[in-house]
Amino acid sequence: MPCPDLNEPETTSKTAGGARDVLSADDISRALRRIGHEVIERNKGAHDLVVLGIPTRGAPLGRRLAAAIGAVEGIDVPVGELDITLYRDDLRRHPMRPAHRSHIPAEGIDDKVVVLVDDVLYSGRTIRAALDALAELGRPRAVRLAVLVDRGHRELPIRADHVGKNLPTSRDERVQVRVAEVDGVDVVRISGGEPR
């Protein structure tokens, strides 16, 4: 049974045009710290925040972001995972994906400021699904979106509030986000496509 990873980057380009690293482990860590500060600034503190990572790789990034915010403000920021498999609009067109569990912090999301965290923002469809999933869990006061990489090519009117790095890409390029908790290494890599 084909069970590809949810966040496995797109098109397996056959014309591999030399992979290059665009973010190192240090870059990722700095980006998350900066996003943490941005979230706090925007929210005027860390009160009422709930950080929800979107599996697979958004989940560990969410935990790191929550830890970064907590370290600045000296509190524990509630953090969880939001699985959106059952809300995808492309299930019919793509191979079977196993559904994972969502973990929502005990305090819930009603009247909270939810910060969704994902690794790559691309078409926007994952985030659309995440918004649907959130709506059935409660009514947040606000929802913000933090992504490590925004690679463009949106298909829906969705934008990120906090971006680790904007990476203009072509559609036949492949953006790979690797995080230590899942892959044993922190790196963002681009491969495939025409040499730029």
Partner: protein, 326 residues
């Protein structure tokens, strides 16, 4: 993933585990205020039941509804079958309405396999005669995994009317697929013919003496009492109900000995229970009993089955390579 679920043997170990793991997240949905997810929006699931059923039919119906599929129940009694229409015509008529899945319970063994040859829809076996009941085996495995974790090497004992039991057949296959050790116990008259060859190939133990299994060298992790199916018996399998209970019922005394060997032992029954016959009320309501957990798992497991059979498209399964990041 296979298109149909006719037999528990249609599922590999990986597929079985994928369904059981998906069922965990489906079970989470059940505890939510809003239980519906849009996953199967636009899909149609027909429950075609030629035999009585409470829990299987209602749980398939709820499972479909919570996944946003349109579910319709047809019973053999109220349909054209009672006017003399053949199973083939009934199945093809429904299939001609472009439904996505047919969930079928039928009194004839092999009915679902037959229907699968005739229709385009996915066929899910909800119990066919004395053959199989794969979703029951999945929910039993789910219940066991919730309590015991990995089933590799666990000792599960099935007791009772094996001859007439589709639950037993599917359970043996699923439990062996998941690596459990299985012992089946029945009176000689209710031991299926040919079980010797099957137990040899599948690798499970058989016995006539429940007490020697309970007191044997191999402590029991779970004991599953099968229902004495009076509606399938024309008599002569055992002299009296009392004698059956003495030999093969899970009495308070037997439960006591099981618990003495393994305080964590689980008592299971696929329902409906004949209290006082194959299971004493004391055992059915004991802290070791997970009978209600089995019912509660029914919806989640059937949601997972519908998801795995229906959510992806045939064409999409072919190009697993081109998974698109959204």
């Amino acid at each position: 993933m296979t298109k149909h679920l006719i037999s528990s043997a249609d599922l590999s170990r990986d597929e079985t585990i994928a369904i059981l793991e998906t069922a965990v997240s489906m079970h989470d949905l059940q505890r939510r205020e809003v239980k519906k997810v849009p996953t199967l929006r636009g899909r149609t699931v027909i429950n075609l039941f030629f035999e009585d059923s409470t829990r299987t039919r209602s749980s398939f119906e709820i499972a479909g509804k919570w996944m946003s599929a349109d579910t319709i129940n047809l019973s053999g009694k109220g349909s054209s079958t009672s006017k003399g229409e053949s199973l083939r015509d009934t199945a093809r008529t429904i299939d001609a309405m472009s439904v996505d899945a047919l969930v079928i319970r039928h009194q004839a063994s092999g009915a679902c396999h037959q229907v699968a040859q005739w229709v385009r829809a996915s066929v899910i076996n909800a119990g066919d005669g004395m053959h199989e009941h794969p979703t029951q085996a999945l929910l039993d495995a789910y219940t066991l995994r919730t309590r015991l974790g990995d089933l590799d090497g666990r000792h599960v004992v099935l007791v009772g009317d094996l001859t007439h039991s589709r639950v037993f057949r599917s359970n043996v296959i699923t439990l062996k697929t998941l690596g459990a050790r299985v012992t089946v116990v029945a009176p000689p008259t209710l031991m299926p013919s040919g079980i010797g060859a099957w137990s040899a190939t599948e690798g499970f133990a058989t016995g006539w003496d429940l007490d020697s299994v309970i007191d044997g060298d191999d402590p029991v992790d779970a004991i599953m009492m099968l229902r004495v199916q009076r509606e399938r018996m024309s008599g002569g399998y055992f002299p009296t109900a009392r004698e059956y209970t003495v030999g093969y019922g899970l009495t308070r005394e037997r439960l006591g000995r099981l618990v003495a060997r393994n305080p964590e032992v689980l008592v299971m029954h696929p329902g409906p229970m004949n209290r006082g016959l194959e299971i004493a009320a004391d055992a059915a309501d004991a802290p070791q009993s997970v009978v209600l957990d089995q019912v509660s798992a029914g919806v989640a497991v059937r949601m997972a089955v519908l998801y795995h059979l229906l959510a992806g498209d045939e064409s999409a399964r072919d190009d697993a390579e081109r998974s698109v990041h959204a």
